[in-house]
Amino acid sequence: MTGLVYKEWKQNRWFILSMILCGLAPLFVLLLMRGEISNIGNAPIRIGGLIAGFLVAGALQMLVLRGDDRKLWGYWITATPEGYKGFLRVKYEMIFAMVVLFLFSLQCVDRGYCAVAADMGITEIEEVSGIAVPLCFVQILSRAIDIPFVYRFGSKKGSIIKMIFMVTGAVVISVLMILNAEHFDTVIEMCKKVFNVQNSSLILSVCLVVCLALYYLSYRITCRLYLKGVEQYDH
């Protein structure tokens, strides 16, 4: 297993370390738009930077999957003692570690910024990294969906097929909503009942744990699909 970790580190160390830089995104955006602070306000710019950081980090996390969609590698890793399951486990652990590293960097930078601002006499400054935690779970969920597609169909084909699935899903939901337009008010009322103040924290906590469970489920699904995917890789 150490060998696989070493391989991933040698191959992807710059992508892993770039997560620290992505955590600096709110600060970069704030520096770039410092002239707009008086108009827009401090927090919205930082939140914008935070979202930009999430998008870049997400793209970089997907880049670590590049280069593994080769037949020869697939057969070779299956024949090793760790097998393809060990290889996939290290990949999943590494991507999870990247998400965690990004969040840690983001929180450190944000707290540091707040400390500097407080020293400068800005009293109404607030940490925005609180938003980062739920977004981090969204990122985990996105990766849980992305990775099986990449290993089943290869990185290029996989992203196209995923897109087709997503668009189809969106179209189906839109059609269902249009067809059931007359029941829309009852659905909204039902949602209001479920997502009330008392339930909201319970629902949020369940959703966060479900994201983690889905990430594990995604690993199991990828393990099932991997060998089928290897058969279909171009080279």
Binding site: T2, E93, G112, C114, V116, V133, N199, L202, V206, V209
Partner: protein, 283 residues
């Protein structure tokens, strides 16, 4: 095979660096009080000082970076990860709730509804997976390095006791900062320091057992995170209860606070000794 002399040298260098960081923190206390930025930077460096010290000690003694216990070893060890999450939560809840219950103030616990407790537990479970990484700065040093070097020298019980005391003492700058800022009295500092020493020594036995069982520091990281965060979660639920202002519990109920951790310390010390016996037999 590493000799006792080598272990003692490595441990000595490690402890020297850790306590140098501690001294640095105390010396900067005044500066930290004046500036939030300085406070933040020094606090961050200090909280990673055990990991930094272990890395420096590894370089200085040419030990290398093997056996840092950085593999997660999830396969076959999920139950230990679950224990790392659950036990501190139960223990900390008992620590805070036992004194309230034995002093007959059960009515203060109206915030502990099923939905509240479940949502807090699930939130902690989710957060422990993504936010506990900062504690690697401590665990890499204490469990990942110090305990390994200490055990051949002092034995299992000695490592639990001395290791726990060292770990507790390392927190001393945080305890004394209130006194240096003029926010608390010296007797309060002493009370919190000795309280922390006792609690961390007891809790350290559990963390040591976890690390040895899984050969990884990550379960300890999660357990440490749960130990820190459970306190906040339990207190927030307590705050939802009907607690009259300016009330305090009788002094004897304070003893109950230490009981759950004491039980944990005894249980895991016995388990550690049993494991040691098994290891010796197989050798």
């Amino acid at each position: 095979m590493t000799t006792k002399k080598e272990n003692a040298k490595r441990l000595g260098i490690y402890l020297l660096i850790v306590f140098a960081f501690m001294l640095f923190y105390i010396l900067c206390a005044k500066l930290m009080h004046q500036s939030n930025t300085v406070y933040y930077i020094i606090y961050m460096i200090f909280s990673f000082s055990p990991a930094i010290a272990s890395l420096i000690a590894r370089v200085v003694t040419n030990e290398g970076f093997r056996d840092m216990k950085l593999h997660m070893h999830l396969t076959g060890n999920i139950r230990y990860y679950l224990l790392a999450f659950g036990l501190p939560l139960i223990c900390l809840s008992a620590m805070f709730l036992l004194p309230v219950i034995v002093s007959g103030h059960g009515d203060w616990l109206c915030g502990f509804t099923f939905s509240n407790v479940l949502s807090n537990a699930l939130l902690l479970l989710a957060f422990s997976a993504v936010q506990s990484i900062g504690l690697l700065g401590e665990e890499l040093g204490w469990r990942g390095y110090m305990n390994q070097k200490m055990e051949p020298l002092l034995g299992t019980v000695g490592t639990c006791l001395v290791g726990g005391i060292v770990w507790g003492l390392w927190h001393f700058p945080m305890d004394i900062s209130g006194y240096l800022d003029g926010n608390s009295t010296f007797s309060e500092v002493l009370f919190s320091t000795f309280g922390r020493l006792a609690m961390l020594t007891c809790f350290g036995a559990f963390l040591m057992w976890l690390t040895k069982k899984t050969n990884s520091v990550f379960p300890s990281v999660i357990a440490h995170f749960m130990y820190n965060e459970s306190q906040g979660a339990v207190m927030s639920l307590l705050a939802q209860g009907n607690i009259p202002e300016n009330t305090s519990l009788q002094l004897w109920t304070d003893v109950m606070r230490y009981l759950p951790l004491l039980v944990i310390a005894v249980i895991f010390m016995i388990l550690l000794l049993k494991n040691k016996k098994k290891e010796n037999k197989t050798l």
